[in-house]
Every structure is written in C-alpha cells, then in structure tokens.
Symmetry: none
Subunit: 211 residues, 4 copies
DNA sequence: TATGAATGAGACTTCATTCAT
DNA sequence: AATGAATGAAGTCTCATTCAT
C-alpha cells in the first residue's frame, strides 16, 4: 500500500517510518498540513531528527503521505469496481466510503501550495491517472445502466466528490446525519431523472487541475 | 454596514479603520485568515501600530471582518427576498451571487479556530440568526411554490451552500464553467422533481454548528 | 563612511543599525563570519528580530559590513595618497596601517563563500575598483621614484598585502614584533634593489579574483 | 607515517582507519575543518559509527590528521636537507613543494580553535620540534653559504612560509602564476642582497606560537 | 565490529504583539 | 493618534554524538 518502500530499511527504521507516516496522516487530517513537525514527531514517538532523516523537509513528508493515500484510494476504487454488482453501486460506494479519499482531497485541494508540492510527484501522477481511469469506466458504466445522468463526466463526478469531503459545519450530534443527507442530495443531483440541462460541456478527468 | 461604530471615530481614524477592514477582507479571501498582520497593514496603507490600536489582536480583526461580512450577507438576503418574483429565484440568486457569502463561509467554515473566534460575537450571532430566518422563509416559500423539494430545510440548504464555496480544483481555463456546472447540479439536487427520499430529518437552521 | 544609509532611518533605528554593524564587524574579525546571529544581536544589545529586520539574512549583514569596510579602506587609501610626500611612503603607510583592510581581507579572502556573497554587491565592486585605481597610481608613482621594483603591478602588491593580513602564529608577547618583521621583509621584497627576475607577467588589478 | 598505530589493529580496521584519515585530510583541505562528520564517513566509505569508534570526536580526528601531516612534513624536510646540494636549495624546495605543509598550516593557523586542539598533542609537539630543528639547521647553513640574509632566524622563515599557504585571491586562470610570483618575491625578501635592516630581533623557532 | 538509525541541542528565520518616537 | 522599530517565542532544519541491530 505504500508506494515507496525505499531501498530496504532496517526493521526499526521501517517501523519508525510507518509510525511517522501514520502520525502525519492523522494530524494532517485533524489539523491540516501545517502542523508543526515536532508535533508529528512526538505523536510518532520519535525525535524530530528522525523525522527529518526520513523526510528531508515538510514537502517530502506531505508527498509521501499523499502517495500512500493515493495508493489506498486506488485500491478502494479497484475494489468498488470489482465487487459491486452495478456501476452505479460502485460509484455510490466509492463516493460514500473512501476515508482515504478524504485526506487526499484535503491535502490536494484545500491548499494550493500543497497540491503544487504533490503534482510533480511521479507516483502521485500515476495513481491519480489510474484512479481517474477507473472512475471514468464506472461513470460510463452507470450511464449505460441508465442510472447516471448522461450529461456528466468523470470530471464532474470528481468535483462533486471533492465537495463531499469538506468539513461540514454542523452541531456535533448531527454531523453524521448531515453528511448522509448531503450525500443523498448529491446522489439525487446525479440521477438520470434529475437531469435539468447543465451549462458548459461534460467535464472529463483531464479538465481537473493539472496546472 | 459596519456593526460596531465604536464610540465615534474622528474622520481620519474612521477612514483608516475602513481601509483596514477592506484590506483584511481582501487578503483573507485571497490568502486565508493567517496572512501576516504587517501585510494587512501595508495593504491598508497604515502602520501595524495603527492596526493594533484599532483591533487589539488578530481575533478582533477577524471578528470585525466577519461582522462586516455577515451584515453584507444579510443585506443581500433581504434584497433577494424583496426583489425576486419567486422564492425559488430568490434562493438561486442568493446561492449564486453572494461574494460576501463566500468570504464569510471561507472564514467560518474552512477554519474551525476562526469559527470559534467568531461564534461568540454577539453581532455575528444576531446577523446569523437573521440571515437564517430569511433563508428559512425563502425555503418555505419555494416549497410552497412547488419548486423546492419538501424534505429539506434551511439547514440543508445552508450546508449545500457551504459546499459551493470551496476552491474548486480545475484547470484555470475551465474554473468558471466548473463552478457553473456544480451550481446547476446542486440546484438539480434541490428541485422537487429530483426528490429521492433522504435519510435523517429535515435540518433546520438550528442544526448548524454552534458547538 | 557607511555606504548605504537606506532611505532615512529613525534615530533609534539608526543607532541600532550602527551598533549591529559595529558588533558584527568586531565579531567577524574576532571569530569569523560564521558567528551565530544571536551572538551578534546580543553584543549589539538588540534582539535577533531587530537584526533580522535590518538585515534579512546573514549574507545581507556580511554585505553591509563589507561595504562599510571597503568604504573605510577607500578613505584611508585616499588619505595616504594625498598626505604622504612620496608614492613609496604612501604605499608603506597603506600597507602598514589599514586596520579596515584587515577585516575586509579576512572576509573577502578567507572564505570563498563570503567572497561570493560580496562580489555581486554593486557598492563593493565600486569601492574595490576605486581602491585598486588608487593603488595602481601609487604603484606607478613609486616605480617612477625608483623606489619600487619595476616588475610588479598593483595586482602583485595587493596579493602581498593580503598575505600580511593573516593571523600570524606567534607567541603572544612577540606578535607585534613578528608582524613588524614580516612587514619589513615584504617591503624588502618590493624594493628596486631586491629585484631578482620574477616568473610570469606583471599582475594588474584586473588579475585579482573576480571569478 | 601515522604516528599512533594504537595497539595493533586488524587488517580491515587498519584499512578503515587509513581511509578515514585520507578522507578527512582531503575534506579538511577542500572544505575546512568543519565538514560534517557524516560526509567524512561517507567519503571514507564507512559508517559514522565506525568513524566514531576510531576517533571519539571531531577533535580526535583532527589531531590524528594533524599528526599524520606533521609526520609527512618531517619526512619532506628530512629529504630536502639530505638531497639538495645547498642549504638554500633545501630551503627553497621545502617552501615550494610541501603540500603536506599546506594542510598542516591550514589546520593550524586558519582556525585558532583547531590549533588549540592540536598543540597539546604530544606527537604533534614532537614532530613540530623536529621540523623546526631541521629548519633551523637549513637556515644557518644557507646563511653560511651567503645566500640567506643573516638577520633572520628559523622563526622568521616559518612565518613567511605560513604566509605562502593562504588561499590566494586571483582569477582562476592566473592562480598558478600568482602563486609563483609571490613565492619568488618572498625568496627575494630572504636573499642576502635584499637585506635592509629589520626591526626587532631574530625570531627563533621558539618564538612561534605555543600559547 | 560495522552500520546507520535516533536523538536533541542549537542555529536560522518569521511574525504577532508591544512600545518608543 | 500614527508609525514603524524592537522583541522574543515558536517553527524549521542541521549535525555531533550515542546506541540498537
């Protein structure tokens, strides 16, 4: 699941590396990509030096976390495609379930700088391309099934997904329900029956930002 | 439009204050609520000292900008309600056009800390309540018109609005179109015809975060 | 004497700036160009922040010290040329007396990195050019007086000067005498009577490093 | 050539030790005595741990390099004395040719701290004494030959040598020539014919810094 | 024994806030 | 009252040295 096992680390180094990635993942998700490096190190149970030995700077760490996450999303997308009976259901599952997606999007979209950091990473680009390819297949499949409106493309869907991943501003006790409702509303927007003509043209995966 | 005229400022002090708010508004929108205070001061054409004389700390400045913004949103909401022929159109106008809304939401939602800063401000709470009241009227009106699905409340709509205010990750040349399409999709989700049963219960304004 | 009065500083800022330059000058001479910035700040009696406000980074500080020093050397060279009865005596005075020269050379020569930092500074280049022009005049004058050997140029002399500015490794109590003797030996090397043919060609000011 | 074979190392340990010394020598000469220990280790093809096992800290390494170097200088001095037909020529050869001398002086003179590190080392002191004794013999011999001025001692000569070992600040393409000329000028300063009375008294080897 | 991983102190730099002018 | 200088805490990163494998 990790994209870059680097040569071959000693057992303890490996363990530390994994802990650091895990800690970073958690804290990026929790607090954002600007959490102090010392905090990440402390949460990972290592010294800052160790963190910096493994990841020369914050960017490198972010890149690694992103790679890791993109890889995870890819696996989830593949599973959804393989295991769900219909393309529409695969789409729903993907949109609903991917926690990994959440962090990825948080990193990639919420902060242009972070995205700039990631977008030149070969692994990230590759994963991204594969994920979008799967999404594209799922979208076409769902349209052929007659479930998904025909005037949208993988790009449109991806944008909607990204919307779903915002922190939703609701009182704590209804957060879950709010998320479920928003999700259901978005699905309604995608259904073939909803279809009111959309402006512009169908967005493909390529329309998403690569700038 | 500013909620708190503080005692009564001398003309030049008044001017400075306004310039600072304007600069802060612009830079919060542009860069985010963490822009250096010096930058804000420079853009406002005043010294930092002046900024701090007017706003004891960053929080105070954010609160003031927020007040200002909420006030503006309120005015826009009132105008939409008063000037549009149908409630549905008022809703559409509000959702589509409010630049003030954008910054407000950016401040309030993107950063929990900032929201924490704002939510205890009496003016902010008042404006918020009024805005939500109007939104509530518009929502009910649109439902009575048969345009808006009946299983949503002002809370649901507000959440959807907040989704619209994310920076959308598309290649520069299609940004505009992407935004338009997302907006159209969201409207489709709200139309009476789209209506697939939603989970949970109708969200009122009170369900939105006050935590 | 300071090359860059920057716009116009407030009295206190001016004082601080001068103190920082003075402290830096002393510590660069004493310890070397790598002294911690905090130390310099402390010796100048200011906080680090102040130092950094005035000089964005170590390079900027070094450049300023260098400018200051080159300016001083220039003044000394002008005085030597103007006040001494013969060119030879002007040369001797310049070589013997310039304390400013000492630091300048310490910064410029002992550390290639530091030199790299300085050499692109317009002021430094200008001062350097003027100093070398004066030296050139003095050298030719002394040769016409028959005092200075004819097979050397300003470049050769400058190189010998630079040699004189090393920290000389002697027991503390003879340091002074050692320096005097070395100086006298070097002068002997330059006298017309010493003249044993030299290899290569006469070095002009332009041969000195500008790489 | 190495002064301290320490007990008796296994062949591979021996090899490592030598590689480390060689790497350190090269990098001290190239970059200076502050190069990161990791770098030295890497260049020596060993791990840092190995370096530290052999040399408890940076000081110890510097001391060892210095010992090694002093030993080399001693050998060169002995060879010059033994092989050259006249004392003057021995002197010239020693001054001109010793690369080992260059590093030694770089370490000993450019950095007072490093010198402080070296000067208490018994081996270093012994080598130094022997080298100076040879230099003393060469100096007296050259004076008896009538080639070297009579008002200088081994101390004076050593000081001049040290001057020769500075990095000379010339454009890259003339560096070699500059060095040659400086060398010739220094020799001229030492010739019997140059002799203008010097201030102070003749410097012996003992006058050189032992502080 | 050799390796290279981990540590943590310390250097550099930025910026929110205070304060002298 | 306005200005912008000064402060110092906090964050980033480097590297000498120690220690587990």
């Amino acid at each position: 699941m990790t994209a870059d096992p680097e040569v071959r680390l000693r057992a303890d180094a490996r363990r530390n590396r994994d802990q650091i990635i895990a800690a970073a993942k958690a804290m990026f998700a929790e607090i954002g990509p600007e959490v102090p490096m010392d905090e990440i190190a402390r949460h990972a149970g290592v010294g800052v030096g160790t963190l910096y030995r493994r990841f020369p700077d914050r960017e490198a760490l972010i890149r690694s976390v992103a790679r890791d996450n993109f890889a995870e999303v890819l696996i989830e997308a593949e599973a959804a495609e393989a295991e769900e009976p219909t393309a529409w259901e695969a789409l729903v599952r993907l949109l609903r379930r991917s926690r990994a997606l959440r962090l990825t999007v948080r990193l990639a979209l919420l902060s242009p700088e972070v995205w700039a950091t990631m977008r030149d990473d070969a692994d990230v680009r590759r994963f991204r391309a594969e994920i979008l390819a799967i999404l594209d297949r799922i979208v076409r499949g769902a349209q052929e099934e007659g479930a998904l409106r025909r005037d949208v493309g993988a790009g449109d869907v991806a944008v909607l997904v990204s919307l779903l991943l915002k922190r939703i501003p609701a009182a704590a006790d209804v957060t879950e329900m709010v998320a479920d409702r928003v999700f259901a509303l978005i699905l309604d927007a995608l259904r073939a029956e909803a279809a009111t003509p959309l402006p512009g043209r169908i967005l493909t995966a390529d329309d998403l930002r690569t700038d």
